[in-house]
Amino acid sequence: MKSWIAFWSILKKDIKNYYLKPPNISWGIIFPLSWTLMQMIRSSGGVNLSEIREMLPGLMAMSILFGTTSMLAVTITFERKGRSFDRLLIAPISLGTMVVAKLSGAILFGIFNAFVPVIFASFFVDLAGIKWGAVLLTVFLIAITSTLLGLMIAVSAKEVFEAQTFSNFFRFPMLFLCGLFLPISELPIFLRPLSYLLPLTYGTDMLSGSIIGRSMLSPILCVLVLLVFTLALFTLCQYNIRRKWFL
């Protein structure tokens, strides 16, 4: 009961202090919207509406990845620098409860980000036939793994600018390796194994299957792999936190 009070309080505080601030809400809307518009405007200069549905899986995955990693890495680094984070470390709640509370805000923000392109697309194309249950599950799993990647950055960064730099260091290569812009089968052969080491590859594939009915891997395999990534990243983050935050 006591842990739940603390958990809910940390989550509520983060949502109120960070995620519901006007700049972050507008960022959460504008960023996915910009990606959508950018993809819609093709080399011919015209807007290709028929391809919006094709683009949705990639746009949703990118929106989640950028939303979660940026926000969590920056907010934790910011709190650590101001030492308000010490309040959470010395509170009589388990490290796991505290970490999950911090992750939850970013996960919700990532889910919100994911559905901005969907809402936008719904004005232009018919979204019938999408397996919404599978989409929701996939969005949730991508949000968790991306948030955990953000936490890994936050554990290593001491300054906010460091967190931003580290984030981009792995985010951009990830975008090109996970099959968002280029199918994995078209990547140079030596890069392909790397693609399968990225959680986003499995998330994007699941989204493609649920939205446009095209996927290369079994959805069950993708869910299992994403769950394994979640557990592995969570364990690694806890280990790093104990090593780096408790001197």
Binding site: A6, S84, I90, P92
Partner: protein, 326 residues
């Protein structure tokens, strides 16, 4: 562990690579007392407090807090602690009331319970009007007071304070000292680090002086002062120069060391208690009127200078810079 000890630290050490910040220190804190930790910069005070509150892991040694191993059962120990760090680290965007409620929730306090307590604390700390203002708009003194309030919202059995009066105005410092004494009266044990020797002398029941990771002195204020005392001293101020009488006084009061000053003063030092009336009668018989007599006692600053080797002048310079003995 003594049944009256709330904290027992034994052979506590902390190493960072080749550097040993804390070198096997041992001390205990009695339930209900104010225990002070004094030491120059880099002495190991913050490292020690961080190990006690669970922010740093000891290399060796044990810390028992209310019977719990504070290293192995850190969360259990943290549940009875209140912690006030050296920097006010509440949330800038949140107002005073919300900050207090948030801190209460981290200790599992229910909404109604923490709101009631937050109101009480704002009133007690004279922050009612500021309760709805964001923390970033607070003055340094107000920030400090609210940080202390946040540290005690869950009514901890032991409160750890790192430099509670540093960098704040005289009135706020006075209020904080009074608040700490009030907390002590209500039974809270307080562990405090301070670089203000006067603060330590005024409010601490016992003091440990730490230098280079070692505790070099530990005891009650009178005990520490006794350790540098060479006996009893009285100083008399008279209406005439006492220099011509120095030898006569020395001969008359056998066993006393007599030192005359330039400002019509004389100091008598003895291993035994010095009775004042024979001295006064003797001087009166020589036509000298005494208008002031006082017993000279060593100060805590004398103790500090003696055990740390830091001269008083250096102490003052550091104090003026605002960072002494942290």
């Amino acid at each position: 562990m003594n049944t009256t000890d709330i904290v027992t630290v034994t052979n506590l050490s902390k190493e960072y690579g080749d550097f040993t910040a804390v070198k096997g220190i041992s001390f205990s804190i009695l339930r209900g007392e104010i225990f002070g930790f004094l030491g120059p910069n880099g002495a190991g005070k913050t490292t020690t407090i961080n190990m006690m509150i669970g922010l740093a892991r000891p290399t060796s040694g044990t810390i028992l807090i209310d019977g719990f191993d504070a290293v192995k059962k850190v969360k259990k120990a943290q549940s009875i602690m209140g912690i006030v760090p050296d920097e006010s680290n509440l949330y800038d965007e949140m107002d005073g009331f919300d900050n207090l409620c948030f801190c209460g929730s981290l200790y599992g306090m229910r909404k109604d319970e923490r709101e009631k307590r937050a109101k009480e604390l704002l009133e007690e700390f004279d922050l009612i009007k500021a309760g709805k203002r964001p923390f970033k708009a607070y003055s340094k003194g107000m920030r400090r007071k609210l940080t202390i309030a946040a540290g005690i919202i869950h009514e901890p059995e032991i409160l750890f304070l790192d430099e509670p009066t540093t960098g704040i105005d005289v009135e706020s410092a006075r209020q904080i000292r009074q608040l700490l004494l009030n907390l002590k009266q209500r039974g809270t044990t307080i562990f405090i680090t301070t670089h203000y020797i006067e603060d330590a002398q005024r409010i601490c029941d016992r003091i440990a002086i730490i230098v280079g990771g070692n505790i070099v002195a530990n005891g009650t204020v009178p005990e520490l002062m006794e350790s540098v005392s060479h006996g009893h001293s009285i100083q008399l101020a008279a209406d005439k120069d006492l220099e011509p009488l120095a030898e006569e006084l020395q001969a008359h009061f056998d066993g006393c060391i007599v030192k005359t000053g330039t400002d019509h003063t004389v100091t008598l030092i003895s291993k035994e208690q010095i009775a004042l009336s024979p001295v006064l009668q003797y001087l009166d018989s020589r036509g000298i009127s005494v208008y002031e007599a006082k017993e000279l006692r060593p100060s805590l600053e004398d103790v500090f200078v003696k055990v740390t080797g830091i001269e008083a002048i250096e102490l003052k310079k550091e104090k003026d810079k605002g960072g002494m003995l942290k």
